[in-house]
């Protein structure tokens, strides 16, 4: 395997992705990511010099809305699925130190 994924990398990606893996999962993730990257490295065989990266497959452009208020108060609906709600707001663990 050409791509060796370190513990540090897995931990770092875990911070970015907000995932906490068990030791066993970590080992598996290192293996999986390494082999996927080996596979993706295949793209290196292709010469893409001068090729524009393509995000959209056909030229759709300039999709806008007019600046007109169309939405009313639907707070009840918005909060309906919240695991925690108080005073019309979403409850989260404290963010202030």
């Amino acid at each position: 395997m050409a791509n060796i994924i370190s513990d540090e990398t897995i931990d770092y990606v875990g911070i970015l992705a907000k995932l906490e893996l068990s030791d066993e999962e970590k080992e598996q993730a290192k293996k999986d990511m390494g082999s996927m990257l080996d596979y993706i490295d295949k793209l290196g065989e292709l010469d893409t010099e001068g090729v524009e990266p393509m995000s959209h497959v056909f030229p759709v452009k300039n999709v806008f809305r007019e600046d007109i208020v169309t939405n009313g108060d639907i707070r009840e609906e918005i909060l309906k699925n919240a695991p925690g709600e108080k005073d019309g707001m979403f409850v989260v663990p404290r963010t202030f130190e």
């Binding site: 990398t9 897995i10 770092y12 990606v13 875990g14 970015l16 992705a17 907000k18 995932l19 906490e20 893996l21 999962e25 993730a29 999986d32 990511m33 082999s35 996927m36 990257l37 596979y39 993706i40 490295d41 295949k42 793209l43 290196g44 065989e45 292709l46 893409t48 090729v51 524009e52 990266p53 393509m54 995000s55 959209h56 497959v57 056909f58 759709v60 999709v63 809305r65 639907i74 609906e77 918005i78 309906k80 699925n81 919240a82 695991p83 925690g84 979403f90 989260v92 663990p93 404290r94 963010t95």
Partner: protein, 486 residues
């Protein structure tokens, strides 16, 4: 003919002619669900009460002359990644185990306007990540042709429900083959439309630049009819395209004379099961016999589609799935210490292994120092793949090939080796990268008794050529043995 054997269009006609009521059709299909669901597990949620209520309402509107369309009164199943107002929508994930959307997807609204009766939500690979419907948090779906085998995925529940007569047609979504491959494995017709043809509003995103909603159904006529209903220009979806050629049923013409069909040699190499190969080439011969011009060509770049796809899809997915954080909806872990621990525990407990694998990969390829080497590189290869198709479509109206290298594998055989599983997407994935339409239609059964699918690929906005070719093929092939508990 029994109600359950009817296609969607046949049933609607029978309802219009007052031979069948909407209630009878709904009750018949609910009874079928009751009978066979324990065997196949096509649904995450069956909304029996809601379906009966809708049936009465729709019948009223048909009687009042308000609903006259070709699908009015026909019961449908919806893949569980499309929001349905007031009806549980889980993406087959624990993280959305209790999520009740407050609005419906545009595609579902279009169906409802046309008089559809929504039966429930079909099982899928979690967040559409998988090709077997085994990554669902709510148990796997089984193939109605042989319950030892998978139905394919990720729209496996939708495909199996159609095959098992647990609905008259279903909506699926296709990011890398997720409509066409299960359609192939379950012996039904599936279409992934040109990107932008069906609104993505309300579709819970996996890979936003690749996702498209499309039908899974019993025949090509149903396919064209459903497409006419669900295709729409939606101002809520910036990537929705305004088309004035969505009269898809006009392409239901039994004529392929002069149709230029290209067979990519690269689709018939190593890894393709010989029975699948024979069935597909036989189908090509059928079209040739009917007057199509069929020739082989080199498409090129085929083996690069999978790594390109997994880079782009994983990157987009890693971002799209960030919103599942235990704050606004869905699963929140029981115990946690502080904000970041809550995020990590909720997500780690809420997502399954395959989803986590792709989120990790996607986060990595976008991370500082790797963006250019992986993500931008993939977008450049995507441009090359698109160019290869452009060149092919300068010569051909339709590209013909297999949907998948094999027929449906046995349950439990695929998940152990992700790369091997990803290789199964080799013929379907590049179509999503290039935004093209692709249609899957049954073209045979292998010696194990499992259906084989034929894939027809068109240039952007050329669904009609696919429908016409498939329709002509279907006429020659005859009715395909639909398998269910009949």
């Amino acid at each position: 003919m029994s109600i359950l054997d009817m296609t969607a269009v046949e049933l609607a006609a029978a309802i219009r002619n007052k031979e069948v009521t909407v209630m009878e059709a709904t009750e018949a299909v609910l009874a079928q669900i009751e009978k066979s669901e324990s065997k196949y597990h096509c649904y995450v949620t069956v909304d029996k009460e809601g379906a009966l209520k809708q049936a009465a309402e729709v019948q009223g509107k048909i009687d009042a002359g308000e609903l006259t369309g070709p699908l009015a009164g026909v019961p449908v199943a919806i893949k569980d990644n499309m929001c349905t107002e007031g009806l549980l929508t889980t993406c087959s994930s624990k993280i959305l185990y209790n999520f009740i959307p407050t609005f419906s997807s545009e595609a579902v609204l279009n169906l409802q306007k046309a008089g559809a009766v929504i039966l429930g939500k079909t099982n899928m690979d979690e967040f559409a990540m998988g090709s077997t419907t085994e990554t669902s948090a709510y148990g796997e779906t089984r193939n109605p042709w042989n319950p030892e085998h998978v139905p394919g995925g990720s729209s496996g529940g939708s495909a199996a429900a159609v095959a098992a007569n647990e609905c008259f047609y279903a909506l699926g979504s296709d990011t890398g083959g997720s409509i066409r491959q299960p359609a192939s494995f379950c012996g039904v017709v599936g279409l992934k439309p040109t990107y932008g043809t069906v609104s993505r509003y309300g579709l819970i995103a996996y890979g936003s630049s690749l996702d498209q909603i499309g039908p899974l159904c019993k025949d090509v006529t149903d396919c064209a009819t459903i497409m006419e209903v669900i295709a729409s220009h939606d101002t809520k979806d910036s990537t929705s395209v305004e088309r004035n050629d969505t009269d898809f049923t006009s392409a239901l013409v039994d004529d392929v004379k002069g149709m230029r069909i290209g067979i990519p040699r690269d689709y018939f190499g190593e890894g393709l099961d010989s029975e699948v190969k024979d069935a597909v080439l036989k189908a090509a011969q059928v079209l040739k016999d009917k007057g199509a011009i069929v020739e082989e060509f080199d498409l090129s770049l085929v083996e690069y589609a999978i790594p390109t796809y997994y880079t782009i899809a994983a990157a987009e997915a890693s971002s799209n799935l960030e919103r599942f954080d235990g704050i606004k909806y869905g699963y929140r872990t029981e115990e946690y210490e502080g904000l970041h621990n809550m995020y990590k525990k909720s997500r780690s407990e809420g997502f399954g292994a395959e989803v986590k694998r792709r989120i990790m990969l996607g986060s990595f390829v976008l991370s500082s120092g790797y963006y250019d080497a992986y993500y931008l590189k993939a977008l450049r290869v995507k441009a090359l793949i698109k160019k290869a198709f452009d060149e092919a479509f300068a010569k051909y109206d339709v590209i013909l090939g297999p949907v998948a290298p094999t027929t449906a594998p046995k349950l439990g055989e695929s998940l152990s080796d992700p790369i091997k599983m990803y290789l199964g997407d080799i013929y379907t994935i590049s179509i999503n990268l290039a935004g093209l339409p692709g249609l899957s239609i049954p073209c045979g059964v292998d010696t194990k008794g499992l259906p084989i699918g034929l894939q027809l690929i068109g240039d952007c906005f050329n669904e009609k050529k696919l429908i016409q070719t498939a329709y002509a093929y279907e006429k020659a092939r005859g009715v395909f043995g639909r398998k269910g508990d009949k």
